[in-house]
């Protein structure tokens, strides 16, 4: 879902591709572009912290969230936070999940 357009606007050549072995790709590697930042230049989250809805004074009522409800656990991920990190490695009970934006 997430589009790195902002970063694509600043396409710069660099050692970005050197980090990856593309020799056995099953897609046309000519269509792979550098998004700008290097590997992990956009930091994924690994230990996300949450607040209860009643204690989330930082939230505006009309702002956009990605809502997830699994195994009786509901979590909302504000898109203004997701946009800075793209990926959140999280967990719903015993289920390891990846939130992507």
């Amino acid at each position: 879902m997430r589009l790195l357009l902002l970063l694509a606007l600043s396409l710069w050549p660099g050692p970005v591709f050197a980090a990856w072995d593309l020799s056995r790709a099953d897609i046309d590697t000519g269509e792979i572009l550098s998004g700008g930042p290097p590997k992990d230049g956009i930091p994924a989250l690994f230990e996300p912290r949450f607040a209860a809805a009643g204690k989330a004074a930082f939230m505006r009522s009309d702002e956009l969230v990605l809502g997830v409800d699994i195994n009786g656990i509901a979590k909302a991920y504000p898109t203004r936070i997701l946009s800075w990190h793209e990926l959140v490695n999280d967990r719903f009970g015993g289920l390891p999940v990846l939130v992507s934006w």
């Binding site: 269509e31 009522s61 800075w84």
Partner: protein
């Protein structure tokens, strides 16, 4: 939203910095394979071909989500990173009418940034404009010979799609131009 359990392993993922058809490629730390989110599998490296299982998620307003899920938790800005979370860095991009990449232009009468629900069954791809799904509330359709039933719940802005046996059918909600880039043969429900 995906499961991080692949086979009997639990993987963690990071951002590669590479784009494929203007969509982010991510990588797993365990094997450094690259994964495409929209193709839903690993495209390079030792895990090439391994599939990602999609889990249901809903893009909605905070007040609506909270009304439908009073006990919800919400991700906080205590991420360990110093970022200006008061603004979305993609705000300007959301407002732009068309995509940056020329090969992703919309056709006549189509809106690039329209949100669609995309489904793929037995080689058939079909996109449902989210506005149509929301307006109708209920919808029956057949994709790749399989009967599908759409139920949109206005109270929490949630869409459930099930097959004839009541199983949840995975779908993605994305921009029309993104869906079309990955499914050039896609049909469009009107």
């Amino acid at each position: 939203m995906y499961s991080r359990r692949i086979g009997d392993e639990e993987l963690t993922f990071g951002v590669s910095g590479l784009l494929y058809r203007s969509n982010v490629l991510m990588y797993d730390h365990q094997s450094e394979s690259l994964w495409s989110q929209i193709l839903r599998h690993a495209v390079t490296g030792p895990r090439r071909g391994a599939k990602l299982d999609v889990l249901p998620s809903t893009l909605t307003r905070w007040d609506k989500w909270r009304a439908g899920h009073p006990r919800t938790l919400v991700l906080t800005t205590a991420t360990g990173y110093d970022r200006d979370y008061s603004r979305d860095p993609y705000e300007d991009y959301y407002r732009r009418r068309s995509g940056l990449f020329g090969f992703l232009r919309a056709g006549p009468g189509e809106e690039d940034k329209e949100l669609v629900v995309g489904i793929e069954k037995k080689g058939v791809s079909r996109a449902y404009p989210l506005s149509v799904v929301r307006q109708r509330g209920q919808l029956e359709d057949s994709v790749g010979g399989e009967k599908l039933s759409f139920r949109y719940d206005k109270s929490d802005d949630r869409l459930r799609i099930t097959d004839s046996e009541g199983r949840t059918v995975p779908h993605v909600t994305t921009y029309w131009f993104v869906w079309k880039a990955f499914h050039p043969q896609t049909e469009r429900f009107e």
